[in-house]
């Protein structure tokens, strides 16, 4: 453990916006549970003593359980618990919905789980392993994915967790409220060193955080890395701006609804972008031909995240995101209007699309 060992404790620290909400709900439930447990225990012991069999008496009494009173009793002890538990349901659901909707201003951090470590990439380019540095009182949105099996990003002090799935992106967000160091656990069993897949969350003051960001991170930002990957893979040959290419323009596509050739539409989120790169023929944008080769096996999970971050940044009028103080919002959904998808009349140049090494059977 990296944390200095704490002595015995009975309750986890409250270090995020969710902690007090969850604890409040927990308190309500504990009170109700304790009330019913004690009630049942008391009645059983009381009856066991009061109505214990006395020698000599052998004629059992008969209580009428079809009387109005008995039926009312049955109804009462069905309806009252139902009412109390529906409060739990509604309360719990409202917390979960809040946990599911990251605020628009949240700072994006990408996390990749891998047997048995956490790899973290910050937009500005900083990377860390089994550690996550975040500024206090700032909404943090994690985009999670796994390179192998299912993991789970669990921070008890924040009262939140989310499964980390291979081949898909999941989201988790929180706002740390207290400076300090907190446990990060993998909560979904992931193999031999599952219990070693732990880490530390460092919640820092904004100044410390900016200092930490600045030190020793000469690499480019994720979006810059993504841009060079975009060039290396030749994506720009077809995905040209303003609909001049044989493939859709990617500017501003992130977060938009994309019309597909079969008449349906799909929201262009991280998972969609990933699917479109790996299985380009699964969903064809309306008005375009089925010409894109697959990039399966040519791009790593980390690379994919960079590519996604670049595509997200493409709609941003400021261009590529680079190191920037925390005052600006990370690229997110841009209000640039619906994506223009003109009919493709542009014929492919002789070079054609970059042929895929993996499969040679595109039409």
């Amino acid at each position: 453990m990296i944390l200095e060992s704490k002595s015995f404790q009975l309750f986890p620290e409250q270090a995020s916006n969710f902690a007090s909400q969850v604890d409040g709900l927990y308190g309500y439930m504990v009170v109700i549970s304790a009330f019913f447990s004690v009630l049942v225990a008391f009645l059983i012991i009381f009856f066991a003593v009061k109505y214990r069999k006395k020698p000599g008496v052998n004629i059992p009494p008969h209580t009428d359980d079809h009387s109005i009173g008995a039926v009312l009793l049955e109804i009462a002890w069905s309806v009252i618990p139902l009412g109390l538990s529906l409060v739990m349901f509604a309360w719990g659901a409202s917390i979960m919905f809040e946990e599911s909707r990251p605020p628009k201003d949240a700072l994006n951090v990408y996390v990749t789980g891998k047997q048995w470590m956490w790899k973290v990439q910050h937009l500005e380019g900083a990377r860390e392993i089994d550690e996550l540095h975040v500024p206090v009182n700032r909404n943090i949105r994690l985009t999670l994915t796994s390179e192998d099996v299912i993991h789970d990003f669990f921070v008890p002090a924040f009262r939140t967790k989310m499964d980390v799935l291979p081949g898909r992106y999941t989201t988790e967000w929180f706002r740390p409220t207290k400076i300090g160091q907190y446990h990060l656990f993998c909560a979904e069993y992931c193999g031999t060193k599952h219990s070693g897949m732990t880490g530390t969350i460092y919640v820092m003051s904004v100044e410390d955080y900016n200092k930490w960001l600045a030190q020793g991170n000469g690499e480019g930002s994720m979006a810059e890395d993504g841009e060079s990957l975009f060039r290396q893979l030749g994506c720009g040959n077809c995905h040209r701006p303003e609909g001049h290419g044989r493939a859709p323009d990617l500017h501003g596509v992130y977060g938009m609804n994309v019309d597909l050739s079969d008449g349906t539409h799909v929201r262009a989120d991280e998972s969609y972008i990933r699917e479109s790169v790996l299985y380009p023929q699964a969903q064809i944008v309306a008005g375009y031909d089925r010409i894109m080769p697959t990039f399966k096996g040519l791009i790593s999970d980390d690379g994919m995240l960079k590519l996604i971050e670049y595509i997200k940044s493409m709609g941003n009028p400021n261009g590529v995101v680079s190191e920037r103080p925390l005052t600006r919002e990370p690229s997110d959904i841009q209000k640039t209007g619906p994506m223009a998808l003109p009919e493709s009349e542009y014929k492919a140049p002789a070079g054609g699309p970059r042929p895929s090494a993996a499969t040679g059977k595109q039409q």
Binding site: I44, I59, L86, A93, I95, Y189, T192
Partner: protein, 542 residues
Amino acid sequence: MITAPPQVAEPKNYLNAETGLKSWLLTKDHKRIAILYLIVVSLFFALGGIFAGLIRMELATPAGDLFDSNTYNKVFTMHGIIMVFFFLIPSIPAVLGNFFLPMMIGAKDLAFPRINLLSWYIYLLGGAFTLYVLLAGGVDTGWTFYTPFSSSYSNGYVVAAGLGIFINGFSSILTGLNFIVTTHRMRAPGMTWFRLPLFVWSMYATSAIMVLGTPVIAVTLFLLVLERGLHIGFFDPAYGGDPVLFQHLFWFYSHPAVYIMILPSMGVVSEVISTFSSKKPFGYTFIAFSSLAIAVFGFLVWGHHLFVSGQSIYAGLVFSVLSYIVAIPSAIKVFNWTATMYKGQVRMETPMLYAIGFIGLFTIGGLTGVVLASLGMDVHLTDTYFVIAHFHYVMVGGALLGYLSGLHFWWPKMTGRMYSDVWSKVSAVLVFAGFNLTFGPQFLLGYMGMPRRYHVYPPEFQVLNVLSSAGASILGIGLILPAMYLTWSLKYGAKASANPWGATGLEWQTSSPPIAENFEVTPVVTHEAYDYSTVQEVVHIG
């Protein structure tokens, strides 16, 4: 084997009707098959218990000093597989249900005696696969077999373990099928549905779950085995599969399976509370229908295991609210049991002690389940020790205590012998105390965030883990005791009377132990169940 040597004056009963090993291994008598099940189920329970002990020993310290992590993972996996599939699911249905369901409805046997025997052999075959896994080197997937870990990454014997459970499933299906047909068509004249003992109602509901749910886990494990061998892509994202789909299929069975474990215990407790209060169960109809309600609604809530799995939150919303609704029938039962004691004539015999322990622990288990069913709460608590504690309160505090209660209740009938009163009460108290000390602290650990299946853990969790391990040793002693005094009673126990507890069921109206075809004359039922005015003075020893 518990064949008592035939003595000169010993009246004929199912134990001495035929002798020799062959007469046991080829028997079609439901009572003998129940005894066969009892023996093997007990062995598996002992094995699973040893693994539990090993887990608690390892967790007494934060570091991994007893095993390496690979071994630890195999230990908890084997503990889970053995306890769930080879102890909890068959325990009450295949032992107590097999023995008493036909007797309680006044039948000579189950509808399909040969299928009943076949189900025991299938169970053995499934068990053999599991033992093979154990001896060959174990499996480390956890009993939940989540993909893609189990299909592509685990180094253990996943295929053999999967096949073992797959095969064992058919044993469960056949038992359920047999019970359903028997309940429908083998009832004695006059035994109408609302004269059935509550244990029969609960076994019927259990059987319905077995029949409807088990095939789904069978096909799921079948697909998992194919996936593992051939990488056909059903559940592995690397080939386009969806691991969450596996979880849906897995929990479609495995959540209702929880009710396969707990419903029979509820049936036992209904019998025991009524008998030892000498009073008809309060709200007979409500208890009976709540069993069926649990069987039906139990199939609608599986997704509450998937709240943070990447399942749609809207699906989670529906699963959450349905989970609250399924909790209501359980609450109804608890209140009805309590009310049954009101103005009864309560006798604190050993089965009653276990039954009361059951109610207390099951109440806590159920209420913490209600805590977990809340979406926002579950996000924090799922996959932590809170869940471990919750389901052990239901599985051990509920299912196991119910099983022990039933075993003590019917032991005189099954064997014709009484066990030690003192020792059995000591054991009941030890089990109750040890259990709470073992799993109570785990609620706190879970809320603090200790994840399940952790081999090493941060030092601040140690105090509670030590408490838990200490409790486990008390629990262990409490569970070894019955094995000893029950075995002892076979030879030295006093001979039991036909109705040692003053109970009302048909099974108590024949000799202890019963004759081969249960009743001298097929009984004719003329009044409702639980009419204690017909019971004579209670005599333990006959």
